[in-house]
């Protein structure tokens, strides 16, 4: 079971429900169960008819306040593959344009009694607010620079499938850690399963209070089994921010090129990639790249998360049985 996140902020709180707001809410057992369920679903997707009846009659609302391709499409498809009804609301073109607050939008959508609300929002704490004001299970699909827990889970899944293990792996996370919710979620997930992490990037983009090894020396990626490349957000690098003097200098010093990799090293990226900035096109398209596998993993992991929240129980066995019935 995904651990209870109690709504203890506003006494008297509503009844506790299960949410996936942060990797910090998960135990190692939770992670292993979710990855196991995802593997079961991956097998079911090999079949000719890919739809399972598992979540028939359930409603999954996708509420996206930021642009997204991978996350929003995979959540929608995950829900559909499990036969849930889906409703996707994007901030642009909705009442958000008319100035409606997140709390009010969430209450409005809550009136349809959704079973799950998946939310992406540019501000940390938005999913927590939705959890406070609605009765739905809430899944954080990215809030500000805070958390992106399903990304961390799909990355663990990808690592497990590609390298056959998690414990004892060494991953170098390279780039703009400061502004990265992916990096924060990964660090917690890696700690749960025993993966060693090294953060590499320009000094101002490495928060000094994170509990991880950190260095600005790109040579440090040499020892890693996997190089995990973070997206450089161009808007953060514009004149005046001065995190780095220029994107050109960033690429020269920290860009992941074929020359900087050693044979056998694998490369990951959460997408969307800026080719020629943080990652060389030759790397992104090479056999060392796991980027496409990450996208595929996103679908089955999100199916597993929806299943776990709504059905729960000893997931691996039940999911397999359900898949057989289907």
């Amino acid at each position: 079971m995904i651990r209870l996140v109690t709504d203890d902020l506003r006494p008297p709180g509503p009844i506790s429900r299960r949410h996936l707001l942060s990797v910090a809410d998960l135990t190692r057992d939770d992670v292993e169960r979710l990855l196991g369920t995802a593997r079961t679903f991956a097998a079911s997707l090999e079949r000719r008819v890919k739809k399972l009846p598992t979540l028939k009659g359930h409603l999954v609302v996708n509420l996206f306040y930021e642009s997204s391709t991978r996350t929003s499409s995979s959540f929608e498809l995950a829900a559909k593959r499990l036969s849930a009804d889906t409703l996707t609301v994007k901030a642009a073109g909705s009442s958000v344009d008319k100035g409606e607050s997140l709390a009010d939008t969430a209450r409005t959508l809550g009136a349809y009694d959704p079973d799950v609300i998946v939310i992406r929002h540019p501000q940390a704490g938005a999913p927590h607010l939705v959890a406070r004001v609605t009765e739905a299970h809430v899944v954080n699909a990215g809030d500000g620079k805070h958390q992106h827990p399903t990304q961390a889970l799909l990355d663990l899944y990808t690592l497990q499938e590609a390298l056959g293990r998690l414990e004892g792996l060494h991953v170098a996370i390279v780039g703009d850690v400061l502004h990265s919710r992916v990096a924060r979620s990964l660090l917690q997930a890696f700690a749960l399963v025993g993966i060693r992490a090294t953060l590499v990037g320009p000094p101002a983009l490495l928060p000094r209070d994170l509990p991880a090894e950190a260095t600005s020396d790109i040579g440090a990626i040499r020892d890693a089994d996997v190089v995990y490349v973070l997206r450089m957000q161009r808007e953060r690098m514009e004149g005046g921010a001065n995190f780095v003097p220029s994107l050109r200098e960033y690429t020269a010093r920290w860009g992941i090129t074929p020359e900087r990799l050693r044979p056998g090293q694998r490369v990951m990226h959460p997408g969307p990639a800026n080719r020629g900035v943080e990652i060389d096109a030759a790397v992104a398209d090479s056999p060392a790249s796991l980027i496409v596998r990450q996208v595929r993993a996103g679908l089955v992991v999100r199916m597993a998360v929806l299943y776990d929240l709504l059905v729960g129980g000893p997931v691996g066995v039940e999911a397999a049985a359900t898949a057989e019935v289907a």
């Binding site: 902020l9 006494p11 709390a103 501000q123 704490g125 938005a126 500000g144 928060p207 209070d209 509990p211």
Partner: protein, 435 residues
């Protein structure tokens, strides 16, 4: 003279019998009875004649000088939906306060004698407890031109502050120190170096790094504290540092005081009780400016309060509308309420565990702020006006179990169990609260 205003209230005729009377500034700690005639303390002794007055049996309770809060946001004018002079001063009465000072960062800013005069008139109609007002240092708190400080002081402004924002220009601050000297008032400074704090929602520390929230580093406060103390020292003027939060800031304050600078400081209950660990909840009710900092900062603030480097507890009571706080952490405004919980929070978290003597807490909540701002010191003495608080140190209560008197409920203590409650408050000679 700094002016305090209160609505017309009948002077109390009451006897408080058998309380532990604790007035640290008077060196008083004894089991006594006190008689108040028409709002003035007239008798203090082991037994006093009741003179037909109502008797409050206070066996087992503590009677102390009522509290003075030098840092309150009454949101009037402009945001009367969040607080009014009436509601804010009722909250103060319930919290045991006999005087509060309101900050000028309202809409419009209190930067002219006309605005101050209107507030004074409103306080004479509505204020449950004596209320004073600080006026802005710069017009519109824009940090460009000085306000007409002489006229504002003549109109009763207690002190000057651009609280909410720093005076960014050192040159302008210097002119403010020079000019304010003719008024005899103090500058109360919000210390924040804006290019270091910009965009920060919380303290820049481990919690911020892990949560991905932009942080305000401690040096954003300390760098400005250092600058402000240096300018005050150069001009030979007194200075008061608002809501200190960082260890380095109180170290600088201690060094300046040792060097003879007339510098004072204040700390809030939330900075004395919480650390930035609390923001991991992403509860907008622990979002304030300056932000909650680390455990070493909290410990340093407590040490400074204990040894007198910091002379005042100030609530920085900052009411916010529920619909504005009901937002994602990063979108929520800074500020928490505090008038109704300050004593109980500090008694529960500092006095009960033995971290701070009760007498010291009472001094820092009453005589300390009165001294810094040149106000009459509340005292338990014959001939003094009744500015008294009667405290029940045994009673436990849950914050929020009764509606707040404040119009806003953005308390960082919502749902907390606290020990210590106010049984009665007398302010300006009148009984303004009784539980």
């Amino acid at each position: 003279m700094p002016a305090l205003w209160q609505r017309e209230l009948p002077g109390a005729d009451v006897v408080v019998r058998g309380a532990r009377v604790l007035d640290p500034a008077e060196g008083l700690d004894a089991r006594l009875s006190v008689r108040i005639d028409r709002g003035t303390i007239t008798a203090l002794g082991e037994t006093v004649e009741a003179n037909g007055h109502r008797v409050v049996e206070a066996e087992g309770l503590v009677l102390a000088p009522a509290f003075v809060d030098p840092h309150v946001h009454l949101r009037t004018p402009g945001r009367e939906d969040e607080e009014t002079i009436a509601s804010g001063t009722q909250a103060a009465a319930a919290g045991g306060y006999c005087a509060i000072l309101a900050m000028p960062n309202t809409e419009p800013v209190v930067d002219s004698a006309a605005t101050l005069g209107a507030l004074a008139a409103a306080a004479r109609r509505e204020a449950e407890v004596p209320t004073g007002f600080l006026a802005a240092i710069t017009r519109g708190q824009r940090g460009e031109e000085l306000t007409e400080m002489a006229e504002l002081a003549d109109s009763g402004a207690v002190a000057f502050s651009d609280d909410g924002v720093p005076v960014a220009s050192a040159g302008l601050l210097r002119r403010a120190f020079q000019y304010v000297s003719i008024t005899g008032r103090t500058l109360a400074l919000h210390c924040e170096e804006p290019t270091l704090s910009r965009g920060g929602h919380v303290h820049e520390g481990r919690a911020a790094a892990e949560l991905g929230l932009a942080g305000q580093p401690s040096v954003a406060e300390a760098a400005m504290v250092a600058r402000d103390l240096a300018v005050a020292r150069h001009e030979g003027q007194p200075v008061h540092l608002l809501h200190l939060s960082a260890r380095e800031s109180v170290e600088l304050l201690a060094a300046a005081r040792a060097a003879g600078v007339r510098a004072s400081g204040e700390v809030t209950p939330h900075h004395l009780v919480l650390t930035d660990d609390a923001v991991r909840s992403l509860d907008p009710n622990v979002k304030m400016n300056p932000p909650l900092r680390g455990e070493r900062d909290r410990a340093a603030l407590l040490d400074a309060l204990r040894d007198g480097t910091v002379e005042c507890v100030a609530t920085d009571h900052a009411p916010h509308a529920a619909h504005e706080k009901d937002a994602p952490f990063e979108a929520a405004p800074f500020g928490v309420t505090g008038l109704e919980t300050a004593f109980a929070a500090l008694y529960t978290h500092l006095v009960e565990p033995g971290l701070l003597p009760l007498a010291t807490l009472l001094e820092r909540m009453s005589a300390g702020p009165a001294r810094v701002f040149g106000l009459e010191r509340p005292r338990v003495a014959a001939g003094a006006p009744a500015n008294l608080v009667l405290l029940d140190l045994e009673r436990e209560w849950t914050v929020g179990e009764r509606p707040f008197r404040s119009r806003s409920a953005n308390s960082w203590l919502l749902g907390a169990r606290l020990r210590g409650s106010v049984r009665l408050t007398a302010a300006g000679g009148a009984v303004v609260y009784e539980a």
